[in-house]
Subunit: 333 residues, 2 copies
Amino acid sequence: MSITIEDISKHLNISVSTVSKALNGYTDVSSKTKERVAMAARELGYQPSAAARNLRRQRTDKIGFVFNNSLMYIGDYFAEIIVGATSEAESQGNNIVLYTNEGDSPASLQKLVRTREVDGFVLVWNHVPAPIIDMLLAESVPFVILGRRVSHPAASFIAPDNYQGALQLMQHLYNLGHRRIGFTTRPSMAYTNEDRFNAYKDFLTQVDIPVDPDLIIETKIEPRSGYQAANRLLDLPDPPTAIFAFHDYVAIDAHQAILDRGLRIPHDVALAGFDGLRTSLITSPPITTVRQPLVEIGRASISALLTLMRQGNHAPIQQTLPVKLQVRQSTAG
Amino acid sequence: MSITIEDISKHLNISVSTVSKALNGYTDVSSKTKERVAMAARELGYQPSAAARNLRRQRTDKIGFVFNNSLMYIGDYFAEIIVGATSEAESQGNNIVLYTNEGDSPASLQKLVRTREVDGFVLVWNHVPAPIIDMLLAESVPFVILGRRVSHPAASFIAPDNYQGALQLMQHLYNLGHRRIGFTTRPSMAYTNEDRFNAYKDFLTQVDIPVDPDLIIETKIEPRSGYQAANRLLDLPDPPTAIFAFHDYVAIDAHQAILDRGLRIPHDVALAGFDGLRTSLITSPPITTVRQPLVEIGRASISALLTLMRQGNHAPIQQTLPVKLQVRQSTAG
DNA sequence: TTGTAAGCGTTATCAT
DNA sequence: ATGATAACGCTTACAA
């Protein structure tokens, strides 16, 4: 089959243990044999068997990246995170393994955990249910939640500052004179973007505007659902003068809906999204949004996870990364 | 540490081999002990150690997905492929491991191959150099090239029908009366999309239009390079009446350039892209494109690879998937 | 039908 | 400085 440590050992008439030590840079090996071993390894094209190593070291240098397929609808979002995550992982000698179907129940993820085929997990879900977190903690496997805060004190997460971002956006709309601002949210089942929604409500309360339930529309996960949401808002007897879509793709749907009604952006209706995906720049007019540092979020999540992995008793890492309001013509005009 | 097969064996006073056989559905185990073992396994929360299994079976049930980071600029492209690939892999009991830095040289990829940490590879590169293919064949590791044809008879690939797609697009533009059609290509170093370019040239030759080198502009990989390319075309003394961009993101750049010059699409200049990414639908006017079945390409590449993996002497799988012209307002108006 | 034992390729402990 | 050997947790001849 393939070259093993034993081949080198025979080749040089040296014991396997010495070869192993030489290869792994132990100090109790003469530099002469070290050289000989290195030479032979190169010559024979030796690479250690990952499986054997994993078994012996009880660790795989692999990180599980658990996400759900609905991310497909947000290609840019996913891609930027992956780029940040893979480059950080690889620079630290780890690789990323993708999993999409393990998030359904704690049980299926638990099975995966127990195979020990990866050393830790990054969870990329709209919502991470408490039972999942409890299970992971009980299994004492390192994990980091990416993209949203969770209230569990023992869980680590790397999240954008959704609250401040949404607050800034509301302030921006308010400064432009908007007083009736529509909000398209996600289905209430998933508590996702609670922060964005809370900021919406908190800001209105701050400036003494009552929160009008008519102005809050739930969208579905499916593409194009933002289209209907915008139409429902604009069908109101007293429609909003601005729409805050909970993420850019919904904003793009809304953009289409508004134009299809013959309205102008921002003259008749102002429009803003969230996330800062490249796509939001492409519409005409380009859409005001809140940029979250996705590559950095991907990178930081791996970095945090590796810290947790290397130091088993490390305190939870809970990091909120700053976001940035990007004013464009969909509101500024 | 964690529950092993030996724990079950002790728990039931049964030998480990019997437990293993029971767990793996061998026929020479009494159904009674099978039940007892299954019960105990569930009770103890047993999951087989992936590392031990991998070592013994000489196989990991993992697939390496090797891509380069420039795909970040095309998030939708990457995401759709990943979705198709992961779902197919998982439905067949495999998982995908991501690698981004191994493509630089045959040597670095060879190192990875020899660790045997994955059973096969999908290569997602603009261009796969011949030395890499030769190396992979020499290592006799199963691999599939995704997204483009290669001429090597022993290499497997799953690719969209770039040639036919580009031909259809040219025919469409020709039917609309366009006779001077600009083409933005990639840097010549990477032979990527040779097929699209060849179709462009072949079509023109077919209809007796000389291929004008002025109408062929190289773009860089970086974002926004399509902007300059379009401007160079439109600066020509005899500018094209239509532009065929080699992929959608370049088309989107060109779209911007055209509008910035105060020209109308398609009235003054018609514009078409390639790939059928969702983003091409978002501009106004939406851009005519050739849709390639990305999810299916991802799926099929894994499916092909698994076939090769399971049948070591299987003939190379070379599959060209049909694409579809999507006429939109950037040409049709 | 069940059990014994070898082996997968490493790393790490303990002698030498 | 080097080597013999056990162990990691599983699968699979082979024996009983």
